[in-house]
């Protein structure tokens, strides 16, 4: 047993009293000293392990004959696989979330502005040469009988353009 293996043995549960380790201590003062320094900690950790094991004993473990709690719960959780991200990825994921929320917000504002611009009532349709006094009431969508009352196709199109295309003159 070399010093590296001795350290493994020293820190293994039930390994501290192994005959091989004792033999190693007899011819290695450094490891013997290390064991002495670490003895209170190793004993404390052993005690702590036993205490923690007692805590764990109180938590039910599904037995072979019980309805398994986990498989009962699993279908609800059986969605897309969770991704265990590294810290850097988590940070970039956060930035992505912030950016997507900002873009969604800006999109909503622009959409709302466009909708309000479209739905704002126009006081007058620009006059055409054929019908200089056309108003919004004369839109052939609102007032379809206009089409059948001798309104030519070009002017029908013009009323549509006038009503529904933003940025017209």
């Amino acid at each position: 047993m070399n010093c590296d293996q001795a350290f493994d043995e020293m820190t293994r549960a039930d390994g501290r009293q192994s005959p091989e380790l004792m033999q190693h201590f007899e011819r290695c003062p450094r490891c013997r000293e290390m064991a002495q320094v670490l003895a209170p900690v190793l004993t404390g950790l052993q005690m702590e392990g036993e205490t923690l094991a007692q805590h764990a004993e109180g938590v039910p473990v599904p037995s072979r004959h019980e309805t398994p709690r986990l498989t009962a719960l699993a279908p609800d959780r059986d969605g897309p696989a969770p991704v265990f991200l590294t810290r850097v990825h988590q940070r970039s994921a956060l930035w992505l979330k912030v950016a997507s929320v900002c873009i969604a917000g800006i999109g909503t504002i622009i959409g709302a502005m466009l909708l309000s611009a479209r739905s704002a009532p126009e006081p007058l349709i620009p006059s055409s040469s054929a019908h200089p006094h056309y108003t919004i009431r004369d839109c052939n969508w609102v007032n379809p009988e206009l089409v059948s009352s001798g309104f030519d196709g070009r002017n029908v199109t013009l009323t549509c353009v006038a009503c529904h295309l933003p940025g017209r003159n």
Partner: protein, 184 residues
């Protein structure tokens, strides 16, 4: 053990999902010991362990057989414990205190002074452990409460074998020093 677990997991992946409970039975005690120690709170530890199993089950198709099942499972638990700890705002000095006294073992008849002293020392140790750098305290927990070999610790913590040993050694020496200072 490792091959056996790998085969078990491949069977789970092929649809024998009820076999996952076998893994739960194997890992739950170790997972709970680790999580109790790391989170210092029984409810949080039970939640983290439960969540780890559910996450592993939900992500079972992402497991690749070239890795050890134990490394995969422990990585999930450590990440979840870290997240639980951050969420709860880790309380540095909290230990498994009187509110969560472990159930008395059959045959316990009060112990003695020596037992009380050892218990006090172990409580002190768990408090001092929260003061260590996280890689050192996690490596110690994996070794002593998770019963992991140094190879498994290295794989789980994504370090070299010597790095894993160094973390445990430095952590133990720091604990020994702090314990000595406290006793003086």
């Amino acid at each position: 053990m490792s091959h056996d677990e790998r085969d078990l997991f491949l069977r789970i992946q092929r649809g024998e999902t009820a076999r996952f409970d076998e893994l739960v039975r194997r890992y739950q005690p170790k997972f709970l010991r680790f999580a109790f120690s790391k989170l210092g709170n029984r409810e949080a530890a039970v939640d983290a362990v439960q969540e780890a199993f559910l996450s592993a089950f939900a992500a079972r198709d992402t497991y690749r057989s070239e890795y050890a099942v134990s490394t995969w499972m422990w990585t999930i638990l450590i990440n979840l414990c870290r997240r639980h700890g951050e969420r709860a705002g880790r309380r540095q000095t909290e230990t498994l205190d009187a509110r969560h006294e472990p159930p008395a073992r059959a045959g316990d008849t009060g112990g003695g002074l020596q037992k009380l002293l050892l218990e006090e020392q172990s409580e002190m140790l768990s408090r001092l452990m929260t003061e260590l750098p996280e890689p050192q305290s996690d490596a110690i927990r994996l070794r002593f409460f998770g019963d992991l070999s140094y190879e498994e610790i290295a794989q789980t913590m994504q370090s070299s074998l010597s790095g894993a040993k160094k973390r445990v050694k430095l952590g133990l020496l720091a604990l020994a020093e702090r314990l000595r200072q406290h006793e003086e």
